[in-house]
């Protein structure tokens, strides 16, 4: 994927992949940008230990200026989104980042409006499988763990739908 292999991460995939012990999978990207508000929702709220992110060189923190964010939110009418989600979209737009990692359907829609490809936790796992990070059996196990173990809200049938696509 080369130089454009950069993503911005919303809180969802960080939390959900951490909860199933797959935080290392973020290194399928060359760089993953974490806006300050997402850091606050995950690390500062003690839902993910800071060391799990700082020990991986792929992660990079981004500070978003308040005034510029406010203007951006108004321009695109993103007022209903949470602060972390707004900052993710802002960073994508400002830095021309092609991927936004999010498990939120409203944020997926917003990302598409900006021409950014949204990818959810489930997509990250399937990508890891495609890149040879684990076997089909392990991929299925991880996908089911997303539903059974992580706090991601996803119905069992959606997971099985994904598994059927892999088989």
């Amino acid at each position: 994927m080369g130089a454009n292999n950069v993503a911005v991460a919303d809180a969802g995939p960080i939390l959900h992949l951490y909860e199933i012990d797959l935080i290392e999978l973020f290194d399928i990207w060359n760089q993953v940008l974490i806006p300050q508000a997402v850091w606050d929702e995950t690390v500062a709220m003690q839902r993910v230990p800071a060391s799990r992110l700082t020990e991986m060189s792929v992660f990079s923190l981004r500070y978003v200026p308040t005034d510029a964010l406010r203007q951006f939110v108004r321009e695109f009418q993103f007022e209903k989104l949470h602060a972390g989600e707004q900052e993710c979209l802002f960073v994508c737009r400002e830095e021309g980042v092609p991927f936004l990692l999010t498990d939120d359907l409203a944020v997926r829609r917003a990302a598409k409006r900006l021409g950014v490809r949204p990818v959810g936790s489930l997509g990250v796992i399937v990508r890891g499988y495609r890149l040879g990070r684990f076997s089909l059996r392990e991929a299925k196990m991880h996908l089911r763990a997303l539903q059974n173990v992580s706090s991601l809200f996803v119905t069992p049938e959606i997971v099985e739908l994904a598994i059927r696509q892999l088989e």
Binding site: L105, G120, V126, R127, T155, P156, E157, E160, A162
Partner: protein, 86 residues
């Protein structure tokens, strides 16, 4: 303690304390809510497998859940297509 880390027994005793309701009442509520959720998941599963029409699914669990299932399924298929083909 984080809620996710709690055992079923801990959930029960905590809910009794937090709500000031009797254990039997909370267990009855849990059974009802759990059964409703299992029913909904089964209906949506049958819908996503093509065993139920959209109209039938909406009739049984409501448009909100069916629309959510549609959007989730679309998102997952998009992600998988990207993950496997690019």
């Amino acid at each position: 303690m984080h809620l996710d880390m709690m055992s079923v027994a801990n959930y029960l005793s905590s809910l009794v304390q937090m709500t000031d309701q009797k254990e039997e009442y909370i267990l009855a509520q849990a059974l009802e809510i759990g059964l409703r959720q299992l029913w909904r998941e089964e209906v949506l599963a049958r819908y996503l497998r093509g065993e139920l029409s959209r109209e039938e699914a909406i009739e049984q669990v409501g448009i909100t859940w069916v629309a959510l299932a549609d959007e989730q399924a679309e998102a997952v298929l998009e992600d998988i297509h990207w993950a496997l083909t690019t």
